[in-house]
């Protein structure tokens, strides 16, 4: 039966998750170079159109339409059979559809951080459409769908708000894509002027965190104690990770940076996502405290040592943070918090931990293989990378014919 409180909560949470996508656009846009800011933002924004369209057409049905190990069915194609009166739990099914839609939008948007500064927009457009079909809808089904392989269908791994589905899938796919694209020119010799607008980064962080309350607390699907619990673990992990990143900054360079604080907060939010409704609040402090150093040294390893050009650290933050959070969910999950999980390693049980690790492994595999398939198809249609001159000029002019702040360089 429909409950107005739960419905109100979930509808507003949906709006909060919605605002994360422009938030991500600002986060990426501010972090990149001035000549690429339109492109970096557009790469998130266009998915608000494409992702919505695909989700209504086919995505919801493939993700949540019927039982299956790997994927749903086509029963709800075009939202067929879902009316105003359809109810899921205590909320209108349409609210659940909308809530999940926002996840399907932001996941591919995260990927685009890895490809910043060099991917052709039309190739990205096609890639995102394919990736939604090949990676996201199957992942959502496998984790959350009826009879899904990683969830209630077999492995019984848990993922409260999308550690696997959103963060690992997008982060890992980003890494693969960045390797296929190759580095930006000059990446090895000199990184220069990477951040062009710190207030824009902070705006992105603020909107992301704001929306993340909807993302994590809303994943309880009801306005209850569990939602409140997830709300608190989210705040605690985000806050603690901000502090621990600031601490690393201080150790490394004697100066605490705002970029570090913002990055740490996002890492903490990613880290708590899989476990938000499964782990105790005190463990959110631990997750937050350690996710920042793990991401920090992960990024150093990937970018400085391995020389992978994960431009805006989609893998560095979302991939690594998501994997770390998923594993720690297996450590700290507690049946006293949520009966949908088994106890974690810390509470003396092995099984949930093992499930989490296997589940992460499978998520990585799906993301890698899926991305390779998608890029393979895209390449049959169009080249994926801009040429050297276009890269130099910047993707704003070369891909979109726009300049973000024309009158700042010059004249009004």
């Amino acid at each position: 039966m429909l409950n107005t409180g739960n419905t109100a909560f979930m509808m507003i949470c949906t709006a909060l998750v919605f605002v994360m996508t422009p938030g991500l656009g600002f986060f990426y846009g501010g972090f990149g170079r001035r000549k690429n800011v339109v492109n970096n933002m557009m790469n998130s924004i266009f998915i608000m159109g494409l992702g919505t369209f695909l989700w209504v057409l086919i995505g919801y049905s493939l993700s949540f339409g019927g039982k299956g190990l790997f994927i749903g069915n086509l029963k709800h194609i075009g939202l067929h059979g879902i009316g105003q009166d359809s109810v899921t739990g205590t909320i209108p099914t349409l609210v659940f559809v909308a809530f999940q839609m926002m996840f399907a939008i932001i996941a591919p948007a995260i990927i685009t951080g890895s490809v910043a500064g060099r991917m052709k927009f039309n190739a990205l457009f096609i890639f995102v459409a394919l990736w939604s079909l090949v990676v996201y809808y199957p992942m959502a089904h496998m984790v959350w769908g009826d009879g899904g392989l990683l969830g209630n269908g077999w492995l019984k791994s848990v993922d409260f708000a999308g550690g696997n589905v959103v963060h690992i899938a997008s982060g890992v796919s980003g890494l693969v894509l960045c390797l296929l694209l190759g580095k930006r020119h000059g990446y090895e010799q000199h990184h220069t002027y990477s951040i062009h607008n710190i207030p824009l980064v902070m705006l992105g962080m603020g909107l992301l965190w704001f929306g993340w309350f909807g993302f994590n607390a809303g994943s309880a699907l009801e306005s209850n104690g569990l939602a409140a619990h997830a709300f608190m673990t989210t705040a605690v992990s985000g806050g603690t990770a901000m502090l621990s990143w600031m601490f690393i900054d201080f150790i490394k360079g004697k100066k605490v940076t705002l970029i570090g604080a913002c990055t740490g907060a996002i890492a903490g939010l990613v880290g708590i996502t899989p476990g938000a409704g499964f782990v105790p609040i005190w463990s959110a402090i631990i997750i937050g405290a350690f996710v920042s150093p793990v991401c920090y040294y992960g990024i150093v390893l990937i970018k400085t040592k391995l020389k992978f050009d994960d431009a805006l650290d989609a893998f560095g933050i979302h991939g690594i943070g998501g994997i770390f959070g998923g594993i720690l969910t297996g450590v700290f999950a507690s049946t006293t918090i949520n009966s949908a999980t088994a106890d974690g390693l810390f509470f003396g049980e092995m099984s949930q931990f093992v499930s989490q690790v296997i589940s992460i492994g499978i998520s990585i595999a799906v993301s890698v293989i899926g991305t390779l398939i998608c890029v393979g198809i895209v390449r049959l249609i169009t080249p994926i990378r801009v040429d050297r001159k276009e890269e130099r000029i910047g993707l704003d002019m070369s891909e979109h014919g726009e300049s973000a702040y024309p009158s700042f360089t010059g004249l009004d």
Partner: protein, 115 residues
């Protein structure tokens, strides 16, 4: 003899020109953003179906003060090579005579101020 070489180049050539100057060990440079027009006319953008003229395009100005005609030539040569694309809008290199130069840190003047 103190000479200033001034060059207007394409925005995207900033790093190339800087590197080329480094290579010939010209390190003292001042760079600024300018807008320019010339043979290369501005752009036209389509904004909501309207054609918008952008009459001036962003360019980079290099200013380099050197202490001899030899260095003037070397500098011009280096910029010429690094900034060249062959398409309209590559820019121009000017040079001027200076009266004097003084390094604030040491109060040295002339040749010494530049090295």
């Amino acid at each position: 003899m103190i000479i200033k070489v001034e060059a207007i180049v394409r925005e995207e050539k900033l790093e190339d020109v800087k590197e080329a100057l480094s290579k010939i060990e010209v390190n003292g440079i001042t760079v600024s953003q300018v807008m320019g027009a010339g043979m290369q006319k501005g752009l036209t953008e389509l904004v909501r179906g309207q054609e918008i003229d952008i009459p001036l395009l962003p360019k980079i100005k290099f200013e380099i003060v050197v202490s001899s005609e030899e260095w003037e030539q070397k500098t011009i040569q280096a910029i010429q090579e690094a900034a060249f694309t062959g398409e309209v809008g590559d820019g121009k290199i000017f040079s001027y005579d200076l009266r004097s130069v003084q390094r604030i840190r040491t109060q040295e003047t002339g040749y010494d101020a530049l090295n």
